[in-house]
């Protein structure tokens, strides 16, 4: 099954995305955020909490103060460590506790401070690389089911129930398990600590929770003879920190979108731009596949109208990802099956959109999201809508397949719901395994015309965005029908201009030599 699409238009879209990214990248290069600095602190060993449960990373950033922070948290930590002849991690812990004053490093020359950072920074990057090689080795021994990767979510709010659910899902055929975060976590300006058993509509993302899940899935994977991937959510006020923790705990995927927080959580856009860049550099190094959030555009607005916005956003997300050093195989662009199921020929439109994405981004592990908006309490009809979604996915060779749940409109998935969903997807995908390869799309027919229209319209939008700039475009509701201003939204106070001698050892080490593809 192939669409005849205009390669010139596709190339032009990529060119426009680059033009859109340029000024944003320039901004990113000149700024940092409290979240980026906290991630640096964590990578340098600043883990755990101080009194009152404040994470060490937050306490350090707090105590360094705005002025010092402008040079990068790392530099202060290196200086204090150097001055006191202690380890950088120790310095961080001491500063966080208030046992050492940041001033105590002020006399140390930048050179020396940087030198003190060298070993711990290299060690952190090596730990991450080691986790990545671990994954590679485990994957090499794994006998996976045929693609796409069947992906399910767990979201009980209690990490131990989530663990039970995740293992059960793995046994029932899941290749990827994502732990949905508690509502509201993305608006917290810190990462909670420890194993958690209370959350609403999801479970807190914490380093300990990551560990618990990773261990359980490794154990299940060993038993089942196939590696089971673990996923969590980065986008939010703590994007870079979650990326750091995910890298350390061998998560395999992270939800990481260059605009999701802006549009859907009213997080400041500049904060998000800076945060996504650094977090993605870490994802790249960790071999973590990012999942972008274009599907969200379709859960609120009309899916037929929004298809061009999805495609335009995919080009932009791809461009930002490339600039952070992510190769195509780590860019899980989002899409969703959200067209009104009761619309005549809606399945043809879905095929057009999914196949278009497949051809435009041939090497990207496309993330295909299930029907959600049009799911109702009629679980029987819902199960059928999900079946059609599964069919579209296998026909168009999507890569990461989020299994739809028959109870989507009712509750976060029950253990039994997941089993039904996985069984259902396996049935549909197996019975129609090669259907897409055995059929051809009628030239000039409904499907092809629709794909053309979407591509043309995306191109037109990208052109407009390139003209007015991404910030203005977001303000003018180009995406998801919401308007956000450059200085509005949450977390803007955490964005700051870098001092001329700003230093971030990880950024230095991970800066891509050239934009990969």
């Amino acid at each position: 099954m192939k669409l005849r699409i205009d390669p010139g238009a596709v190339a032009h879209c990529r060119h426009l995305a680059a033009r859109i990214a340029d000024p944003v990248e320039a901004f990113i290069a000149r700024h940092s955020t409290v979240a980026v600095e906290r991630a640096v602190v964590r990578l340098l060993g600043g883990s755990g909490t101080v009194e009152e449960g404040v994470p060490t990373a937050n306490a350090v950033v707090e105590r360094l103060g705005a002025g010092r922070l402008r040079r990068g948290a790392a530099l202060s930590l290196g200086a204090v460590a150097q001055a006191r002849a202690i380890g950088v991690a120790e310095a961080a812990a001491a500063i966080a506790r208030g046992a050492l004053e940041p001033e105590s490093g002020d006399s140390v020359p930048a050179e020396a401070a940087r030198a003190a950072l060298e070993a711990p920074a290299a060690e952190a990057l090596e730990r991450i690389a080691a986790r990545k090689f671990e994954r590679t080795a485990l994957l090499a021994r794994s006998s996976p089911a045929p693609p796409p990767l069947l992906y399910v979510i767990v979201a009980s709010g209690n990490i131990y129930e989530d663990r039970t659910a995740a293992v059960a899902a793995a046994e029932a055929g899941a290749a990827v398990v994502a732990v949905i975060r508690s509502t509201g976590q993305s608006l917290l300006d810190y990462v909670p600590e420890g194993a958690t058993t209370e959350g609403f509509g999801g479970t807190y993302a914490t380093q300990e929770n990551f560990r618990i899940m990773r261990a359980a899935l490794d154990e299940a994977g060993a038993r089942l003879g196939r590696y089971v991937m673990l996923t969590n959510y980065a986008s939010g006020l703590c994007m870079p920190e979650i990326a750091a923790l995910g890298a350390l705990e061998r998560l395999d995927m992270l939800l990481n979108d260059s605009m999701y927080g802006i549009l859907f959580r009213d997080i400041n856009m500049r904060r998000t731009f800076v945060d996504q860049h650094f977090s993605r550099m870490l994802n790249a190094h960790a071999g973590i596949v990012i999942n972008t959030g274009e599907d969200n555009y379709l859960t609120t607005a009309d899916a037929v109208e929004q298809a061009p916005a999805v495609l335009a956003s995919q080009f932009i997300n791809e461009e930002f990802a490339h600039r952070a050093g992510l190769p195509d195989v780590q860019i899980g662009l989002g899409d969703a099956f959200e067209i009104d199921p009761d619309r005549e020929d809606s399945f043809l439109f879905q095929l057009a959109q999914a196949q278009l994405a497949r051809q435009v981004f041939p090497n990207a592990p496309l993330k295909y999201m299930p029907p959600t908006k049009h799911m109702t309490g009629d679980i029987f009809k819902g199960h059928r809508i999900d079946a059609m979604f599964d069919l579209a996915s296998v026909m168009t060779h999507q890569s990461i397949h989020l299994c739809g749940m028959l109870t989507e409109a009712i509750h976060t998935p029950l253990l039994g719901d997941r089993a039904l969903s996985l069984e259902g997807a396996r049935y549909v995908m197996n019975t129609a395994r090669h259907l897409g390869d055995e059929l051809e799309i009628k030239p000039g027919g409904i499907i092809e015309r629709r794909a053309h229209d979407v591509l043309r319209e995306a191109e037109a939008r990208l052109e407009r965005i390139a003209e007015i700039g991404l910030e203005a475009a977001i303000e003018q509701r180009f995406f998801a029908d919401v308007s956000r201003s450059p200085q509005g939204g949450r977390g803007y106070e955490g964005v700051f201009e870098r001092a001329p001698d700003y230093y971030n050892p990880f950024e230095e080490a991970l800066r891509p030599a050239e934009i990969p593809a």
Partner: protein, 239 residues
């Protein structure tokens, strides 16, 4: 009149059930399922499907007959359903009897960010072809949006002479909706402005009965149309 579920014959009481048991599957797991459904009070229990879905978990599909029945008389009274007024009627009523715009504040409270529902009620565009409250001449609406702390909503109401508060909760897991709604109602009491405002809540699982339990003036569930809410408000502020 009492009625029972209808399978293929009046009063046969046939019900379909499905559930998961934390139990390794075997034939005795099927028997466990049968006994469980019998213990729930069903008769003629037939385990149509029972199978392992994971180690230590089995899934069942069961058909059985209930002896429970339900009395229809008086039911309509328990779920009163007044005729929905047209936009003109609502505006007319308010113009005549209140003589000024009724001030409405809506929000999706707590950490809940599902604004589509409350937007559907408030925004101009409305829902399923039924215009939202913004479109009514005699309403002045303030849509505070997502993730609004109850405290913030109460402060806004006090500072802006709000007549009606519309709170939405879509995430219901582990009773988070009940918790947030309760907090809002209690804050209003604490601030002493509970009787000055009309307090409405809504969300896909809301019912009037639950709303009443929570101390709200009304609750609106899945599929609510803006005009139904408008009618309710108009009737209550002019009653």
């Amino acid at each position: 009149m009492r009625i029972k579920p209808y399978g293929d014959t009046r009063d046969d009481g046939v019900v379909q059930l499905s559930f998961t048991l934390p139990l390794e599957w075997s034939e005795s797991a099927d028997e466990a399922a049968r006994r469980l459904v019998a213990a729930m009070g069903f008769g003629d229990v037939s385990v149509a499907e029972g199978r392992a879905i994971a180690s230590g978990f089995s899934f069942f599909v069961v058909y059985a007959k209930t002896s429970a029945s339900i009395e229809l008389d008086g039911l309509a009274a328990a779920v009163p359903r007044e005729r929905t007024l047209s936009m003109d009627e609502v505006d007319g009523l308010l113009r005549e009897r209140v003589g000024r715009k009724v001030r409405i504040a809506g929000a999706c409270i707590g950490t809940d960010a599902h604004t589509v529902g409350i937007d559907a009620i408030l925004n101009m565009k409305g829902y399923k072809g039924d215009y939202g409250l913004e479109r009514y001449a005699m309403f002045e609406t303030f849509n505070l949006g997502a993730q609004i702390a109850p405290r913030e909503l109460v402060r806004f109401a006090r500072e802006n002479d709000i007549d009606a508060i519309l709170a939405s909760q879509v995430v219901t897991q582990k009773g988070s909706d009940v918790r947030n709604f309760t907090e809002l109602a209690e804050l209003l009491e604490a601030e002493g402005i509970r009787d000055r405002v009309l307090l409405l809540c809504g969300g896909p699982r809301m019912t009037n009965l639950l709303a009443a339990e929570l101390g709200y003036d009304a609750g609106f569930g899945r599929g609510t149309l803006p005009s139904e809410v408008a009618s309710f408000i108009a009737r209550r502020v002019t009653a």
